[in-house]
């Protein structure tokens, strides 16, 4: 396994360490660095969505900030200019009024025309006058006061009991006075606060919209990937004809065509192997036909042969049958391997089918076996089975029963009984039967746990391998049982029977999910 993405070079000992003589290590690309860990934990779609959301958030925040501060600045400047202009106008009014003798300062201040929210404070002849009780001389910041009283006009921002205020001071040296106007910016602050809220809300909406767009874009961008995933699943399921539609996206076309090329190569390879097996089997059929026909002729003239020749003929006949079975089984296997096995479905009564199949398992492997296989195998019908109909491929079903019977006859002293039951068991009206179980029990010693699954492998004989008796099976029987059952969408497994023998349980759905050819018309 390649680690950390570093190129792997295994120098073969004795080859002088020539670089490039890489051993046959299966290559697999893998993300090595830890920083990919979080990223890979999140799906691609989540990552794209997050990126879009973060981008939208950053952008909208910056935009909102700029908008807010620009607006604020422009408001303040405008207000400050207005207030200053007003203050100067008022200051000159006050100055003129103070020139004329006998002016009541308080009345004068009241009469001054001010902007809404602004208050006047006047310092005249060492006395302070104000239009508001709350805003007097003390409300004005000290530095502003000193600056103005020393003869310089000034304006200053300050905060008075939580509200921003602007004070504009104008010295009036001609009348030994100074005029101040204190302007409250409470209203402006309210406006700005509203603006801030609106902008924040807009930023949030934009972020959410960004996330939504990201999600949509990711899904849209990944849609072809979903197609490839589906195709891969189909191919893994044996549908080797599956191809990906390349579409018109240049980025994805490459991936799609690489994927299709891979599948084509894979398919060609699998088909080549399957065809080879199939061709070999077919080629063997011609000589086998001559053999079986000729042996048939010899059997017809059996009585004319001496006992030794008869015995030889019997051996020949037995093994020819076995050989033929093996060729048939290989052909069947090659069909499964090529994915060309088809179901030919018929709707039948399961018990009748089992009975016919069990009856049909006479002399599967020559006459010798027939003697050891007890005939008249009892068939036990479970409750609820009566009246059920099942859609199966009869030929394959017959092979399942025949192969299980052969297996029992060869290794376990024959079949003791066959049970037909439904699944789920009868008795629950709310749960109608959806499958049948055909259970074949034998008289053998049972099958050890580890052997149970492997027994369905090709040519696996497990602990029974020591036994090589006359009329031995082909070694493919049980694996074919598994294949036939799988083609029907069913399952097969091994349990222990009450008497200690093995129980082969075949479960077949009443209606197979696999699409098969049924009524050809």
């Amino acid at each position: 396994m390649v680690d950390g993405g570093a190129p792997l070079k295994t120098s073969t000992p004795g080859s002088g360490g020539t670089p490039g003589t890489a051993g046959r290590v299966p290559r697999r690309w893998r993300k090595g660095s830890a920083r990919h860990k979080l990223a890979s934990r999140l799906g691609l779609r989540a990552r794209v969505t997050a990126s879009f959301a973060i981008g939208a958030f950053a952008l909208s925040t910056v935009m909102a900030g700029i908008t807010y501060f620009t607006a604020r600045q422009s408001y303040l400047n405008e207000r400050s200019t207005a207030v200053q202009r007003q203050a100067f106008v008022n200051a000159s009014l006050v100055q003129n009024a103070l020139h004329s003798p006998g002016t009541q300062v308080n009345q004068l201040l009241e009469s001054v025309d001010t902007l809404p929210g602004s208050r006047s404070v006047l310092h005249s002849q060492g006395q302070w006058y104000a239009t508001s009780i709350s805003v007097g001389q003390n409300a004005i910041p000290t530095e502003e006061r000193t600056l103005v009283l020393s003869g310089t006009p000034a304006s200053q921002w300050f905060t008075l009991s939580g509200t921003p205020e602007l004070v504009v001071g104008v010295p009036l040296p001609a009348v030994h006075a100074a005029y101040f106007e204190v302007f409250s910016l409470a209203e402006l602050a309210g406006t700005l606060r509203t603006l801030a809220y609106v902008l924040a809300a807009a930023a949030l909406v934009t972020t959410a919209a960004g996330a939504a767009v990201g999600r949509w874009a990711a899904r849209r961008a990944l849609r072809p990937l979903a197609g490839i995933t589906e195709a891969a699943v189909a191919i893994a399921g044996g549908e080797l004809d599956t191809r990906v539609d390349a579409g018109d996206d240049s980025d994805l076309r490459e991936l799609a065509s690489a994927f299709n090329r891979m599948t084509t190569n894979l398919q060609a390879r699998i088909e080549r192997e399957a065809r080879f097996t199939s061709d070999v089997s077919h080629e063997l059929r011609s000589p086998l036909t001559t053999l079986s026909t000729s042996i048939g002729v010899l059997n017809g003239h059996r009585d004319e042969l001496d006992p030794r020749a008869q015995r030889a003929l019997a051996l020949l006949d037995g093994d020819l049958t076995r050989f033929t079975r093996m060729v048939d089984d290989l052909l069947e296997i090659s069909r499964f391997d090529a994915g060309s096995a088809e179901l030919s479905l018929d709707e039948v009564d399961p018990v009748e089918l089992v009975r016919r199949a069990v009856d049909g398992t006479r002399s599967p492997l020559g006459d010798e076996l027939e003697a050891t296989t007890p005939r008249a195998v009892p068939i036990v019908e479970g409750p609820g089975v009566e009246g059920l109909r099942i859609r199966v491929d009869k030929r394959r079903f017959e092979r399942i029963i025949a192969n299980l019977s052969d297996n029992a006859a060869l290794y376990a002293g024959g079949v003791t009984r066959v049970i037909v039951d439904c699944e789920p068991p009868a008795g629950h009206p709310s749960r109608p039967a959806r499958a049948i179980r055909v259970i074949v029990e034998d008289a053998g010693p049972g099958i050890a746990g580890p052997d149970r699954a492997r027994l369905f492998e090709r040519f696996y004989r497990g602990s029974r391998s020591g036994r090589r008796e006359s009329g031995e099976g082909t070694g493919l029987g049980l694996s074919l049982v598994a294949e036939h059952v799988r083609l029907h969408g069913g399952a097969v497994w091994i349990e222990t029977a009450e008497g200690g023998g093995a129980r082969f349980v075949v479960e077949l759905p009443l209606v197979p999910e696999t699409s098969g050819s049924e009524d050809a018309l």
């Binding site: 059929r285 001559t290 048939g296 709707e347």
Partner: protein, 226 residues
Amino acid sequence: MNRILVVEDDERIRQSMRLALEDEGYRVDDVASGEEAIASFGDGAHELVLIDLMLPGMDGFETCRALRRQSTVPVIMVTARSDTHDVVAGLEAGADDYVTKPFVAKELAARIRALLRRSRPSGDDTATTLVFGDVEIEPDAGVVRRDGTEVHCTRTEFRLLCELATNAGKVLSREQLLERVWGYDYFGDGRLVDVHVRRLRIKVEPDPANPRFILTVRGMGYKLVS
């Protein structure tokens, strides 16, 4: 003595088949190609033909079709493949039955016997004329007429039609038809029935794609309604 024509390109198989069939009491003529088969069949002396599907030159399908154009002689296809494609194509070319290589001589003999039995006008059928739509069947004479004109049926097609017509209105399963017409047991090949029904429909139905008389009963079998 029944004369059988064996069409098989493999010399050894041909010889062994001749031996086996002669042991069963048939007279056997064997040829190695479809062309020879057509030539030697010309005299009409053969009561049954065995054709290997894979022949050099004119293949088994074509040979069968050529034979069908001139005769309703019973034909058994010999195939090395039991795949749907080959079997159905062979039957559609006009074969009555098929055997798969390698066959056991006894099995082949049984199929031949069943087919020859079928090809003789049977005495057990009801002698009365059967009628549905514009189709008339005379079981005794082995004649099917449609609108007064004779329809050429193979013996298997004829037996199948009789079986369906005598049980008009009843559903016959493929198993029943296989047993009654072909003499097969329960596990016979249902495709035999399907293809023969299709062939029959072409001959007797006004619109074979939308049959009015020979109906498929899904999951059950076939029935004839008049």
